[in-house]
């Protein structure tokens, strides 16, 4: 199965980068000099992205302007899931999260990843006006609230 353009957007950074590439291509369409589109596609767009764009334009009927405009609007309208992690995620983790999001919530959602070592592990998630603290710190504090006093009693503090 050939990748779609939306498949290469996992994070907010990816979104910004793709929007810059799409904007450059759209701008090249209004240049009068010959070969400007090709030049921009080769110099300002990542090869794997350029490959997808070219293929999708052909599939969409070779209307570059329409494709780019629709694609820019669609990318801009993607929803953002803010996720806080205790460490910088590997590419593998980001891919896993993205896959999980598509399966669980559908397409058109990108990640804004923040790093906060204090959460120890797990993740804090904010999406669509909702928030969930699934951090290891929160779990630890919940456990401490429940069993901390009992734990301290072992040291005759209770």
């Amino acid at each position: 199965m050939q990748p779609k353009l939306e498949d290469i957007i996992a994070t907010v950074e990816d979104q910004h980068q793709l929007l810059e590439e799409l904007a450059a291509l759209e701008e090249s369409l209004y240049k009068t000099n010959e070969g400007k589109w090709e030049e921009t596609l080769n110099s300002k767009v990542r090869p794997e992205v350029a490959e997808i764009i070219v293929r999708e334009i052909v599939n969409a009927g070779n209307d570059k302007k329409k494709y780019l405009r629709e694609m820019i609007d669609a990318v801009k309208q993607m929803k953002t899931m803010k996720i806080t992690l205790a460490f910088a995620p590997t590419t593998n983790l980001v891919n896993n999260i993205t896959k999980w999001i598509k399966l669980a919530l559908g397409a058109g959602i990108i990640l804004k990843i923040d790093i906060d070592k204090n959460i120890l592990g797990g993740a804090r998630i904010a999406f669509d006006g909702k928030y969930y603290d699934g951090s290891l710190k929160q779990k630890w504090e919940n456990t401490w609230q429940e069993k901390g006093k009992e734990f301290l009693k072992q040291f005759n503090y209770g």
Binding site: N96, A104, G121
Partner: protein, 189 residues
Amino acid sequence: MSIELIGIIILSVVLGVVLAAYERLIRKLDKYQREQEIIDAQSKQRAAKIVEAAKEKALAILENTKIDAKESQEDIDKKLEQITNKQMDYYKELLQSISENIKDDAKKVLEQQATGAQNTVIQKIEDDYSEAKKQVEAYKQEQMKQIDARSGEIIKEFTRLALGKAMPEELKQALVMEALEEAKKTYAA
């Protein structure tokens, strides 16, 4: 006889009458004066007698009065002495009674005061003990909180260091994915 002579004769007669009347008046006055003198002398004598009698009487009265006064004074002294003795006895008894009452009252007062003081001291000790107990309990609670907080921080820090450095990559990712699943369940709920 001439009128002048007649006049002289009349005048002479009148003069003689007047002179005679005057003489009689003079004599009468002398008589009155002597009688007055006699009366005055008699009066003086009588007065002197009266005064003398009165004096004697007064002396007698005075003498009697002295005697009576002396007797009265002795009586009074006796009576006063008796009264005084009685009063003294009464006062002694009264004083003794008062003294005993005072002793009793003082004893009671002292006992009451001692009891009151004892109760006050006991109450004060109990209050102080209660206050000290509260302070100890508050201190204990505060220490407990500090220990709780510090223990939590220490363990958290240890956990962070241990997990952050030693947690395998698979576990880190698993915890993230687990958080996503939990979030999904929470949103769904």
